[in-house]
């Protein structure tokens, strides 16, 4: 149990500290693919440091909710990062929240972000909140359906059990997981505000979703939100890895397997980040009202994955 608790803290801390690095890596890859000279991989840390040092500027009519939300969002994301197995699997905290609760955590953070965006009462804020909730109401059930497919295969909604089941299965082909994998990729793109659903690099009013919501934030509040965004990307990547390529994870709570697990995870993250940048580089942002179609497809794919599981794999 005590090793478990140490592992739990180490992993959560690792996720919190490494998350900006992943963000930096994706940005770097993207810059290379676009033929720009890339910022250093540590750029997100510098940005965070700079933001934490600045004075916070807040609108006159901001309510306490506005100042509370960044902490809430950061706490939710840290919790999510603690649940998802990245290097070790046998975590004492994981029985507290299963995959359905994980979806709930993401939803909690999102609702707070959307509410905070509406707090000041600028047209951009509520526009962003509306669009974010529009993306979410399709992405969230799709994510849940992806988890359901994995849960049906492994007969559990506990992430460690799912990961163990998927890591130790015979190398058989699960068509349902293929559908779920595609759906998961589409959902993670949408949830992390990446191209083709949203563009993290733009402040163009016609297209922005996530950026519109955080326009009023500055300094430490903005830093916390940016950090939470990086953590979310990290958590989603870790989730994708845990569900679809869990090989190499330390299944039992032993320190001996950790270095290998850490290396495996880093390699997978680097690969995943590069892939994300590549997909972003070759696709264009879709029109806002195409987003429901995009996510509707993801939702249907996930449901199809479940149906196929019932048809072929039971």
């Amino acid at each position: 149990m005590s090793t478990g608790i140490v592992l739990q803290f180490a992993q959560t801390l690792l996720a919190v500290l490494l998350a900006p690095l992943l963000m930096g890596w994706v940005n770097q890859c993207r810059a290379w693919l676009q033929g720009r000279s890339a910022p250093p991989i540590t750029q997100p840390y510098r940005t965070l440091r700079k933001l934490f040092h600045k004075d916070a500027v807040i609108a006159h009519n901001a309510s306490p909710l506005f100042r509370f939300a960044p902490y809430m969002i950061f706490a939710c994301m840290a919790l999510a990062a603690g649940i998802v197995p990245t290097i070790a699997n046998d975590l004492p905290f994981s029985p507290a929240a299963d995959v359905i609760a994980l979806v709930g955590i993401f939803a909690l953070a999102r609702v707070f972000l959307a509410l905070a965006a509406m707090d000041i009462g600028t047209s951009f804020g509520s526009l962003g909140a509306r669009r974010e909730m529009l993306v979410a109401f399709l992405a969230e059930p799709a994510l849940l359906m992806v988890f359901f497919t994995a849960s049906l295969i492994s007969h559990s909604t506990e992430l460690p059990v799912i990961v163990t089941a998927l890591a130790h299965r015979d190398f058989a082909i699960y068509p349902s997981l293929a559908f779920a994998g595609v759906a998961f990729w589409m959902v993670s793109v949408a949830e992390n505000a990446r191209i083709p659903v949203d563009n993290p690099a733009t402040h163009l009013e016609l297209t922005m979703i996530h950026e519109a919501m955080i326009l009023e934030y500055s300094a430490r509040h903005l830093a916390l939100i940016e950090w939470a965004v990086a953590l979310k990307l990290f958590t989603y990547s870790a989730l994708g890895i845990a569900l679809f390529m869990p090989w190499g994870i330390a299944v039992q709570g032993s320190f001996a397997a950790l270095p290998l697990a850490l290396l495996a995870m880093l390699a997978k993250l680097l690969l995943g980040g590069a892939l994300l940048a590549f997909i972003e580089a070759i696709s264009a942002k879709v029109r806002l009202f195409r987003v429901p179609e995009f996510l509707g497809t993801a939702f249907l794919l996930a449901v199809l994955g479940m149906l196929i599981h019932f048809l072929l794999e039971v």
Partner: protein, 670 residues
């Protein structure tokens, strides 16, 4: 000791005592001799004590064995039979605990009413509460129908409190009409259930051997009758009209508690009175429930009247409850007792949750209405700054109804979703095909509920005030705050302590499906099946989020600083921005309207670009109204026109009619 033994000692007698107490309270304040204090403010606090007693009796009823009593009133050969078993006890806890908060709130809410209208309102209010308890206690069809009608009528009078407004009269009429159409179906269902023996006690009905065909007829009639009360699509049309029309505490009771009496009736009839259950019943209820849930939440998203939005959201929640009911039937008829127990637990839990968060949200809108006088969200905004108590307490309700952890809405949704994941064990393959689609629909409805709540909360309480008068909005008084704190506390506690709550509603579950969730796990962890199948520990969850939050806060303050500078919001270089440029309620619902335009008939008046005072009007109308109700209304009108031809107002004609009828009957009986 002598005196103690004379006191009623069975829970059912106590419950009957509370019913009498409420009725007495309601009628006493009608008397001109009633003291001024009672008439002006004390009536609701005293009534609230009764609600607390009902909750206590319910808890006792869950623990103690079933108790029955026969009252010396009623028909000569059919006296009032009362019975308090675990199912009634659970619903009495629901009623008592939610009604306590709402009634405490009401004592502040109605403080400005003059004595006359207040006395009338208080009378119907307590009759309404008493009749709901009677519905839950009834142990024969006659008592049930009398209480059911008393409930419908008293709530009708409560809905039409502001009867001088034509729309409210119309809403009340629609409510009364559909309530009675439903009652007729129930009457027929009970008629079939007694199986020709003429014994209308529930005990006799339990023993009647009924063929599957007639059992199905009873079930369909019950589904129709109770569905009309609960707001099942397409019988839901009265709900978005009547609930907003009533004063807010009444809306809270109607949405939070009265709809649940229909669920109670459905459970009582299907699982207790009928002694056979057929698999397709469950599939039908599941399908209807899912349609209702989705339909309700889509319409909730496009509303701009805050109370109407909540009414539609009630339809959604009833849909989820009905879907859980369908699943319970499916599992039960398939011989999966433990799974049926799981879905039934989810159902009862959700019913209890809904009573709390919908009650809270309705009374929250009541305070807003009191302070501002508007129900249209287009004239609200920014109230978190002027009404912090109402705003923060309502936030708890909004987060809970959106199904967010660690509050209570999440627990019941989590239980229901777990049930979907356990279906591969079902014996009928077609069910295995339906279940994933059903799970997806429930998930979609839950996600849309979050959309609705962000809209509801964001437009009313956040942003800038859309009208200058809002600056003077006053916060809720202390009685109202107390009521809201009670309801919000319920949302939090039901969310944090699910294992205790489930243990506590177990007798009701066991009574209906003869099975219960496995117990014996750690009290912190909710493990409905087994610990490596699924588990959830809201207390740990809450502790970690709160811990990280505080840690981050103090860490940021300590390492860096907490300096804040206030300034104007960023105006994009356009300084003329004002509050009207914020997203309106219509604007926030626009994407949903566009995506689901198949169901919604949008009516829009857009202003001419050159108008000096541009006015915009948008309304989203339920298409089912034109598909179902308008033709029915036309046929009924035509029929009554035809009947009207026979009416001349002359006594001779009526005598001839009577004579003709007599002749026909005589010929007929020959």
């Amino acid at each position: 000791m002598e005196i103690l033994s004379l006191l009623p000692h069975e829970p059912v007698q106590w419950a009957w005592g509370v019913v009498l107490f409420w009725l007495a309270l309601g009628f006493t304040i009608q008397l001109p001799q009633a003291s001024r204090n009672l008439r002006s403010g004390l009536v609701f606090p005293i009534g609230a004590l009764g609600a607390l007693a009902v909750a206590g009796i319910g808890v006792a009823g869950l623990i103690l064995p079933t108790s029955v009593m026969i009252l010396p009133i009623g028909l000569p050969d059919l006296l009032f039979h009362l019975r308090l078993d675990a199912l009634s006890a659970f619903f009495m806890v629901l009623l008592g605990s939610a009604a306590f908060g709402v009634t405490v709130y009401a004592s502040g809410y109605f403080r400005n009413l003059t004595a006359g209208p207040l006395a009338l309102l208080a009378m119907w209010y307590h009759v309404f509460l008493a009749s709901m308890v009677m519905v839950m206690l009834a142990d024969d069809a006659y008592t049930f129908m009398v209480s059911w009608e008393a409930m419908a009528l008293s709530s009708y009078f409560l809905v039409t409190t502001d009867h001088k407004i034509p729309e409210i009269r119309r809403a009340g009429f629609l409510y009364l009409l559909i309530a009675h159409v439903g009652s007729i179906a129930l009457l027929l269902a009970f008629g079939l259930l007694q199986g020709g023996h003429g014994d209308y006690t529930f005990n006799a009905m339990r023993l009647v051997e009924i063929t599957p065909y007639w059992a199905s007829m009873v079930y369909l009639l019950a589904l129709f009758g109770f569905g009309a009360k609960a707001g099942l699509v397409p019988l839901h049309v009265w709900l978005p009209e009547a609930h907003p029309a009533a004063p807010s505490p009444v809306s809270a009771l109607m949405s939070g508690v009265m709809l649940k009496t229909a669920i109670y009736g459905l459970l009582r009839l299907t699982f207790d009175l009928l002694n056979i259950r057929i698999a397709w019943w469950g599939t039908l209820a599941l399908a209807l429930g899912l349609v209702t849930a989705l339909y309700g939440v889509i319409f909730a998203a496009v509303q701009s009247d805050m109370k109407r939005l909540l009414a539609w959201s009630s339809i959604e929640n009833i849909g989820v409850i009905l879907a859980a009911f369908g699943l319970t039937l499916i599992f039960y008829t398939d011989g999966k007792g433990a799974l049926a127990a799981l879905t039934l637990t989810a159902l009862l839990y959700h019913a209890l949750n809904h009573a709390f968060f919908k009650g809270l949200l309705f009374v929250g809108t009541g305070s807003v209405l009191h302070a501002t006088g508007v129900r249209n969200m287009g004239y609200l905004g920014g109230l978190i700054r002027f009404m912090p108590w109402t705003a923060w307490l309502t936030l708890v309700g909004a987060l809970a109804i959106a199904g967010l952890p660690p509050l209570n809405g999440f627990v019941s949704e989590w239980l229901l979703l777990q049930a979907f994941l356990l279906t591969p064990s079902l014996s009928k393959p077609y069910l295995n095909m339906i279940i994933p689609v059903a799970a997806a629909t429930v998930a979609l409805a839950a996600a849309l509920a979050a959309y609705v709540m962000v809209k509801f909360y964001g437009v009313i309480f956040l942003g800038q005030p859309r009208a200058p008068t809002l600056q003077e909005a006053h916060d809720a008084g202390w009685a109202e705050r107390l009521g809201m704190v009670w309801l919000a506390g319920g949302c939090v506690l039901l969310g944090l302590l699910p294992t205790q709550v489930i243990l506590w509603i177990e007798p009701a579950v066991r009574m209906l499906v003869w099975d219960a969730l496995p117990s014996g796990g750690h009290w912190l962890f909710l493990t409905p099946v087994s610990s490596d199948r699924a588990s959830y520990a809201p207390l740990i969850f809450f502790a970690v989020v709160a811990g990280v939050l505080l840690l981050t806060f103090f860490w940021v303050r300590r390492i860096y600083h907490g300096r804040v500078r206030r300034s104007d919001p960023w105006d994009c270089g356009y300084p003329e921005q004002d509050a009207r440029m914020q997203d309106s309620a219509e604007g926030f619902g626009q994407p949903i309207r566009q995506i689901f335009e198949v169901f919604i008939q949008a009516e829009r008046d857009t202003p001419d670009p050159f108008e000096r005072k541009p006015r915009y009007r948008g309304a989203s109308v339920d298409k089912l109204w034109f598909i179902f109700y308008a033709p029915i209304a036309r046929v009924v009108n035509w029929l009554s026109d035809q009947a009207g031809r026979m009416q001349h107002g002359r006594i001779q004609w009526y005598l001839i009619y009577s004579f003709a009828t007599l002749i026909v009957l005589l010929v007929f009986t020959q």
